[in-house]
């Protein structure tokens, strides 16, 4: 029964039941109102200030639409849908300030700090579990949004190339940034979704063009928004600032983050901005001071060097210049950059693809390699069989799936830009 309707700028009214409302009202969930979905993207797209809060509601809304159809088809139960709604609502509960921007340095330092793993921990250890455990088991909900349920369908709804998380963020990010590439016919996909004999999600062939549109939308959003060079440069600054703050003891270690509920409820964008403001005023760490000032005044780094290549990964050929630049990046610590301070050299290497397929994809052995295909998008053909869209000769996706846009950028301060360009050119041999 609907206890409340919340108005969403993408879908209109989203209904929530009493249990979901109690979860939404809990400080742990309210915290998501203070975490920007797209991190530093607002520095380029001023409208990109939407939050993990609205995204979480949106994901729940989409899973409900799919779930209702799967119930009609007797593929899942009402109880299954209730669990899926909760998993969708809570899937980002463990996100860091500025979302993936801060998650990046955390993952480099702490192996189990992925936001979904952290989400599972806070869900089980903090007081929000009391609300969940009245009717469900918080352990089960955490496993579902980590893709660790023993139910394949559950995992796929939250973790696949066609999952509800991805669908919502593309639509929402497109709407809020104003970049129209992220728009696709999601209603058609949801109407035609089903589950095959291997319990894998599939879409009826009548919606194949909507799926193709979704895949290309995703590619363009990645190349135009998520991999934008200025946003990338600010991400680098924020990462470096966070590492410095951790070294100075200004932010706690992961052990505290995952175990101190009071701290975690306030661990959001406001917390980080406050620390940056304090860092911009202190005198002890001049490097941190400068970075903090740059972030707060939108003074971005300068791109000194870029190599970009659109490659067909099935042929495994990359520009030699890309390979050599990657080698420099991977061996940064031992490279000689002359008198350019290494602390002011930043590498960013976005990798944009149409599909997560490996180059070992073999149409003849789809059933054998089904794990590797579990995240692929399956199309249900007229004869009832299902095949990954990348294997269908009549689909454009088969022809563009192997292509990836690989980029490496090198950023620095304005005063070092030319020197760094010359240095990298020299190291690469151009």
């Amino acid at each position: 029964m609907i206890a409340k309707e919340i108005y969403d700028n993408v879908y209109g009214f989203i209904g929530v039941n009493q249990l979901e409302l109690e979860i939404i009202d809990h400080p742990l969930f309210q915290r998501l109102k203070n975490i920007k979905q797209l991190g530093m993207a607002y520095t380029v797209f001023p409208g990109a200030v939407h939050t993990r809060f609205s995204h979480s509601l949106g994901v729940m809304h989409l899973v409900n639409k799919i779930g209702a159809k799967l119930i009609d088809d007797s593929l899942i139960t009402e109880d299954d849908l209730s669990k899926l709604r909760l998993a969708a609502l809570l899937h980002d509960i463990g996100h860091y300030p500025l979302s993936h921007t801060i998650e990046t340095p955390m993952l480099k330092k702490y192996d189990d700090s992925h936001h979904e793993i952290l989400g599972k921990k806070v869900l089980n250890n903090f007081s929000i579990s009391d609300i969940l455990n009245s009717n469900y088991d918080s352990k089960e909900i955490g496993l579902i949004f980590n893709g660790q349920s023993l139910n394949q369908t559950f995992n796929q709804l939250i973790h696949s190339e066609l999952d509800v998380d991805r669908m919502d963020y593309l639509l929402r990010d497109s709407y809020n940034t104003g970049v129209h590439y992220g728009q696709f016919d999601y209603e058609q996909i949801l109407r035609k979704i089903s589950v095959d004999e291997n319990n894998l999600l599939c879409v009826d062939h009548k919606a194949i063009h909507a799926v193709e549109n979704y895949i290309t939308s995703r590619y363009y959003m990645y190349s135009q928004v998520y991999s934008h060079k200025t946003i990338g440069s600010f991400d680098q600054l924020v990462c470096s600032a966070y590492i410095e703050m951790e070294n100075e003891g200004l932010v706690p270690e992961y052990e505290t983050i995952q175990s101190d509920e009071e701290f975690f409820n306030n661990y959001d964008d406001h917390y980080l901005i406050t620390l940056l403001r304090l860092s911009a005023k202190q005198e002890t760490n001049q490097y941190l001071k400068q970075i903090a000032k740059m972030i707060l005044t939108r003074e971005h780094l300068n791109q000194a060097y870029e190599v970009k290549d659109l490659i067909d990964f099935s042929e495994e050929k990359v520009l030699p210049k890309y390979t050599l630049t990657k080698h420099i990046m991977d061996n940064f610590d031992t490279q000689d950059f002359g008198d350019i301070p290494k602390k002011w050299i930043f590498f960013d290497a976005p990798d944009v693809r149409f599909s997560k397929l490996t180059p070992y994809f073999d149409i003849e052995r789809i059933n054998d390699t089904i794990d590797e295909m579990s995240e692929a998008i399956y199309i249900q053909l007229e004869d009832g069989t299902t095949k990954p869209i990348v294997s269908l000769s009549t689909s454009i996706i088969k022809h563009i799936a192997p292509w990836r846009l690989k980029t490496i950028r090198v950023f620095t301060l304005k005063q070092y830009k030319q020197k760094l360009k010359d240095k990298v050119d020299q190291l690469v041999g151009t």
Partner: protein
Amino acid sequence: MTNTNKLWRYLDEISGTNIQTFDDRKKLQKTVYFLQRMGLNMGYKFGWYIHGPYSSDLTKDAFEFHNQNETLKATEIPEISPAEIKRIRNIKNFLGDLKDSPDMLELLASLDFIKNIAYIPDIEEKDKQVVIKQLKLLKPGKFKDVDIEQSWDRLLSFDLV
């Protein structure tokens, strides 16, 4: 997230790093699953797929590592510490003769996942019977009873279950 070169160093010591066939990659997946379970955390998150625990990021990293220029790979072999060597020895002892059997590795990893990670509704304590029953539900007829029993005993002897 992870130091792929280091991971490859560990795998070199245990079972090799071939990823040409699906069976090679299945062995890789389950070996890394146990690497992490037995103390050498590489930061891979394993979900549940049709052949048991699987990490798509691991497959992606495996491919990218293999595509590196051979000369570059050779210059970047990291050292491993005495503590790491000890853990690797333990993992090798655990895997034993099964390290080259993708199906048996799948069985071991699946039992471990069901026991230690998975959620089974209305079950407080996942004992051996419950875990094996769940395995048979998920993979009917795939494994012989004798193999299941021996795999459980192996997991038990290394305190994994």
